[in-house]
Homo-oligomer: 364 residues x 2
């Protein structure tokens, strides 16, 4: 740096009055010490169960850690929380950017805390590898909910694979439930396979839409309509009310084209406005109806058991693949074989065989 800062300038300001520290240095020191302390799993568990939000946040950070040493401890905490979890409703919310997911979740969350619920809002956003979560990353988008004592907002964990991101969020659900949150909202963006991952960890799946130019069904991704237990058309206010009603009719007709659901539930379409709050209470009523039905026909518990099994097998598959694709004896050989397959020099099956033989030779 050759350039020197000018010692004076026409734009210089007078130095102001010295202000006292806002945060006491002693108190801050305590917090830092607590943060750095290697808290035992048992302490985290008892902290979570006694409603200590710092313990919850720290346990989530542990779950999200990519440090292999944290894995055993994270599993210990989750297992300790498990007997106190599972007493909640898990709601998945998806919708492409622009439908107003944040404002909807804020209005919906405030409605829920208003009727005595404790709400945790999590997110699955596999695109957020570096930013530590673009969805919900900017908490200021949910100003009211952030300040709410009975709400907890956590951005998406980061990770290289959707599988990893989803697994971490699934584990965080258990921690939040043990803490006492009775309503878990999982947000995801309508891109890629993240809906399928979220669908496999929630009880109720809600697709958020806005009314458009009449061709409402254009561009809805395969499978998303079928996964939806409800389609909620947001921004039904002002000039949009009429369009939203038309969209409701069209979605209702489209939903009839899908086969009946195993849950016995007939998916519903409703309209709402996160601004005027019209229709927000109806969304919760609809979910309550769903709960009543699926608990009485035992679908609710069955699905959760199936989901648990799914996550065990998913975790195994993910780790087996990770082990293979991160194997130092595999990486270069894989690139080589990928090219050979692309150029039709070797069959995909023979290439796989070469890679596997090499892998098992070094891992046996």
């Amino acid at each position: 740096m050759d350039q020197e800062k000018p010692k004076s300038s026409a734009l210089s300001e007078k130095s102001g009055v010295e202000q006292p520290e806002i945060v006491s240095k002693i108190a801050a020191g305590h917090i830092v010490a607590l943060r750095n302390k290697n808290v035992a799993a048992a302490d985290l568990i008892s902290g979570i169960l006694s409603g200590n939000i710092t313990a919850l946040s720290r346990a989530i950070t542990l779950v999200e850690s990519t440090n292999p040493e944290h894995l055993a401890k994270a599993n210990e905490v989750i297992n300790g929380c498990l007997p106190h979890a599972n007493q909640s409703i898990r709601i998945g919310i998806t919708g492409v950017p622009g439908v107003g997911k944040s404002t909807f979740i804020e209005a919906f969350g405030k409605h829920l805390t208003g009727i005595g619920k404790k709400v945790a809002v999590l997110a699955v956003d596999p695109s957020s590898t570096i930013s530590h979560g673009s969805i919900l990353g900017d908490k200021t988008r949910m100003e009211e909910l952030v300040k709410d004592q009975n709400a907890f907002i956590r951005p998406s964990p980061s990770g290289e694979t959707l599988g990893g991101v989803a697994r971490k969020t699934r584990e965080t659900i258990t921690l939040c439930e043990a803490f006492g949150f009775d309503t878990i909202v999982i947000e995801t963006v309508g891109v890629g396979q993240s809906e399928t991952a979220v669908h496999s960890m929630v009880d109720f799946f809600l697709l958020l839409k806005i009314s458009g130019a009449g061709d409402e069904l254009q561009g809805i991704k395969r499978g998303i309509m079928e996964m939806a237990d409800a389609i909620v058309i947001n921004k039904a206010d002002g000039d949009n009310i009429k369009k939203a009603r038309l969209a409701k009719t069209e979605f209702n007709r489209a939903l009839h084209l899908f086969p009946a659901k195993k849950s016995g539930w007939t998916p519903k379409v409703s309209t709402c406005s996160a601004i005027t709050k019209d229709g927000i209470d109806e969304v919760w009523e609809m979910i309550s109806e769903f709960l009543e039905l699926t608990k009485s026909n035992h679908y609710f518990g069955e699905k959760r058991r199936e989901q648990n099994q799914y996550w065990m097998l998913e975790t195994i598959d993910e780790r087996l693949k990770n082990h293979f694709y991160n194997d130092k004896n595999t990486i270069a050989l894989l690139e080589q074989n990928k090219k050979a397959v692309q150029n039709n020099e070797i069959s995909p099956f023979a290439a796989a065989q070469i890679l596997l033989e090499n892998y098992f030779k070094f891992n046996h």
Copy 2:
């Protein structure tokens, strides 16, 4: 066995005149010897390339074998065939039982051989673990095509997993192409995930339907409509013609609800009758149009390269899982943990971790 056979009966017949053997014992002996001979991979390859149908059948049997010793040889044969493969159009045909898949394929296949094509008909039917293929298992359902010199029909390979069944069929495509078949038809039944597997090995995907009671779209499985490059309404003959035309209109409208395809192709709906042969030629014209478009916009080659990469990674994943789930140190522990997860005694993630640690301990 206490009961003795009666020595004479009122129902006895006179013994007939001794007939000469229909098949020469010497010739039969040759065939059996050839069958039992452990033919070298090089011989199978040169047999296939010179148009020897016995060599093709034997190579397919090798590919379908579950004997691990056959794996290396099968890969050798496929690699030898690879430079001579890939010059074909691969057509996937799906449709629920009752839409007339066999009669359609027979009529379609006869049309193709009539215009000088060489047609191989394969099947993916993951339900056929014991019967060695329920689809196409009964070749008499395609009487005409079976007798056709320019057609080859092979039932679905058996296997415990869809992945295995699909992989074997994908390998068989390469053998058939090297033999000289220029049109490969892959049949699958509209059940489970088999369409997705077939979709990932074909260039063109055709959904066969019949016209019903007006609610044509009821019960179409998620994703199948979106995968389809064409919907062909079969049995459009006699009293059905009008209904079939109505169904065509309805499907056309429904197809417009899906986003545009990466191929640049707009899916088409047509009607046909495998009995009167009306519209069968149009199906082939449609596929020719598709070929022209996707070869000129390079989608055709790109998709095949992507599919090759997909099959390499799929094969790796399948084998990694097989190795884990068949590991003698894993099986009992897996059952134990499945139960614990079901009963909420352990988290799915901790259970996965226990199983993986155990697996890698024994496999390191």
